[in-house]
């Protein structure tokens, strides 16, 4: 397949709950995306390094343990410092409603909380990478 859109998927920090990234990676691969699977225990610096090396169309990170605000802010700052602000960040996981608003205002392009079905996720991601 030519010109497959590439998506980097990983978790940042010490939380090891990986149901979400495993399932989303499968859905993305089944939908024709190329998934660069970084798995667990990434640092924000590591995500930026991988972004430079792999040049993905989108970065997706998942959170369950409550570290989302801290890590997303740090990651977005680091991306800006490396002139990578064009790389859109999407987030999935256990995110309280107020934090969804805060993540959006921080610059996260889309947030998929638990219980979001496959089709709306894939559709939104397609919109983001085509935009």
């Amino acid at each position: 397949m030519k010109n497959r859109k590439r998506i980097l998927i990983g978790k940042i920090g010490l939380d090891g709950h990986d149901n979400g990234i495993r399932i989303i990676s499968k859905w993305l691969a089944d939908s024709g995306f190329e998934v660069i699977y970084l798995g667990l225990y990434n640092t924000t610096e590591g995500i930026v390094r991988a972004t430079i090396e792999e040049n993905p169309d989108l970065i997706g990170c998942s959170f369950l343990g409550g570290g989302h605000l801290h890590y997303c802010k740090k990651l977005l700052d680091l991306l800006r410092q490396h002139d990578l602000e064009d790389k859109k960040l999407i987030v999935g996981g256990v995110i309280p409603p107020d934090d969804v608003t805060e993540l959006k205002s921080m610059g996260v392009s889309a947030i998929f909380t638990t219980g979001t079905m496959r089709d709306p996720i894939i559709q939104k991601i397609k919109e983001l990478v085509e935009a």
Partner: protein, 544 residues
């Protein structure tokens, strides 16, 4: 509110039907069950193989322990929550530590930076443990320490030293150390079991702690095989049993290889299981688990003490069926799950809170879990007789079917060299992932229904829910604390004790390292320093 034109009158007149009649584990249920389906020989509760319960009188003799997990933020904050829950009807402690603690990292480690106190409480020193248990008489409560090996050795050492400091005989302590190297973090996923410590030394250290506890703390449960976390990865009930028991057999063989007698340690092995939403299957699962375990201990390992054959099960109701959408529905789900845990004959229960899809429980939702259990215990009458569902054609048939399927899978694992080999080869990982994809596929296809998710979903749902919030300065406070702590202790003693531990590991690979770990904690070495020493002794580096 639904628009009027969307009301499906047709559906109501025709009558609603289920999408299929399969259990969550794929067992096809029959239209009805009869006498011919059920097991002919069904020994009474309290009689081998304990299918109907480990005690003759079950909850007439004593109720299960109401043991909700708790732990967040600073040790002092957790202490307040624990005391609050004790005042509200919690009857056993279940202390959760944050992920940094569970990975042997001090709060000032770069990787702990955004993590301290989030999913449990932060404990790095003996002093922290003292604060966590302030005002709690260690000899009057039973305590579960939720921490994985090898770090379970350090937390256990703190608990023993704290008892010593308070002049409590360690032989009088009652409780459980989770102590599993593979399942305790987030189930047996490969990366979580291998990234921060080499797996075999971790198991060795778990066995060191077990051996010490068997010989010194007669009423302490030496390990809790965490089948709940296995299940929460997305596998089914059959896989949950087979994975958990195959792993348990690896531990049993390790302890036997040390020359310990089966009847000396088997009564102190405990299990922590899950209750998913499939009511009949989950009740049957607990009954099948008891029967399989009893036979394993007696037939395979020659146990003679009936207690060696007892499968003691702690339960936390599964989080997987709970939804962030329409969160009040979770109260109903958790109640049904809790009832299944009780009808299945479990020994302690944590009813998962309805706000699980958002955060740690608030005080209010935590207490609601306790009240749920009390309502079932005191109002519904289900505890008035042991194993009230025993002899039900459907339950007995399901129990036998689950038993057969789990034994068949255990045999496959055994042929592949046992659980640990299957874990290391990545086979377990691939089984887990396939199960996750299948679970997600069934939700997408509507074969599996979750109200609020793929049925009766409300787009742009508006609701009010109180959500737990951490104190904003806890991480900074912990960093300051640990730095100050390291400055104010006797550094020479710390270095000496860590050196001693290092040499013990290097020079005495088959010896028991736990006493050296106890010494290190006693000399005020931190959890991070002790863990790093153990890593260095195995030439292991955490990559980040």
């Amino acid at each position: 509110m639904k628009a009027l034109e969307k009301i499906e009158y047709d559906r109501y007149l025709k009558g609603e039907k289920l999408p299929h009649f399969r259990s969550l584990s794929g067992i096809e249920l029959k239209e009805f069950y009869t006498h011919d389906d059920s097991l002919q020989d069904l020994p009474n509760p309290g009689v081998f193989p304990f299918t109907r319960g480990i005690y003759k009188d079950m909850y007439r003799g004593r109720l299960w322990t109401r043991r909700p997990q708790s732990g967040f933020g600073l040790p002092a904050e957790s202490n307040q929550r624990i005391l609050y829950l004790l005042s509200k009807g919690m009857t056993g402690l279940n202390i959760d530590f944050d992920v940094a603690t569970k990975l042997g990292l001090d709060p000032d480690h770069p990787l702990a930076e955004g993590e301290t106190g989030l999913q449990g409480t932060s404990v790095a020193t003996l002093e922290d443990m003292d604060i966590l248990f302030k005002g709690i008489p260690l000899d009057k409560v039973s305590t579960t320490l939720i921490v994985n090996a090898p770090y379970s050795a350090i937390i256990m050492a703190m608990y023993l030293l704290l008892a010593h400091k308070r002049q409590i005989e360690i032989s009088s302590l009652i409780g459980t150390n989770m102590n599993c190297a593979i399942t305790q973090l987030v189930g047996p996923t490969f990366q979580s079991g291998t990234h921060f410590f080499p797996v075999e030394p971790a198991i060795k250290i778990a066995c060191d702690v077990m051996e010490y506890c068997i010989n010194n703390i007669p009423r302490w449960n030496i390990i809790n095989i965490n089948s709940r976390n296995i299940r929460e990865t997305g596998v089914n009930a059959i896989q949950e049993i087979a994975f958990a028991f195959s792993l348990a057999l690896d531990y049993v063989r390790s302890l036997l290889a040390r020359g310990l007698e089966i009847d000396h340690f088997a009564p102190r092995i405990a299990f922590f299981s899950c209750i998913h939403i499939d009511f009949l299957e989950e009740i049957a699962k607990l009954r099948a688990m008891r029967r399989i375990w009893a036979h394993l201990m007696k037939d395979t390992f020659g146990a003679k003490n009936p207690r060696s054959c007892w499968l003691k099960i702690a339960i936390q109701t599964s989080s997987l069926p709970l939804t962030a959408q329409q969160p009040l529905n979770n109260i109903v789900r958790a109640t049904i799950q809790t009832l299944a845990a009780i009808l299945g004959g479990s020994q302690s229960i944590h009813t998962t809170s309805y706000d699980e899809g958002y955060s740690l429980p608030t005080e209010e939702s935590h207490v609601l879990g306790i009240r749920t259990q009390q309502i079932i215990a005191y109002e519904t009458g289900v505890c008035r007789t042991a194993d009230p569902l025993g002899g039900s054609y459907a339950i007995e048939k399901l129990t036998s079917e689950i038993e057969e399927r789990a034994l068949a899978l255990m045999e496959i694992i055994e042929k592949k060299g046992g659980f640990l080999e299957c874990f290391k080869s990545g086979w377990i990982e691939s089984q887990i992932n396939e199960a996750r994809y299948e679970y997600a596929r069934q939700l997408e296809s509507g074969e599996l229904i979750q109200i609020g998710i793929n049925m009766e979903r409300e787009e742009d749902e508006e609701f009010k829910i109180n959500i737990f919030r951490h104190s904003s300065d806890m991480q900074e406070k912990r960093i300051q604390y640990i730095r100050a702590f390291k400055q104010h202790r006797n550094a020479t003693n710390v270095n000496k004790t860590l050196k001693k531990l290092y040499l013990q590991v290097k020079e005495n690979p088959y010896g028991n390292w736990f006493p050296a770990i106890i010494d290190a904690v006693d000399q005020e070495a931190t959890i991070g320093e002790i863990s790093d020493t153990l890593r260095q002794a195995h030439n292991f580096t955490v990559h980040y």
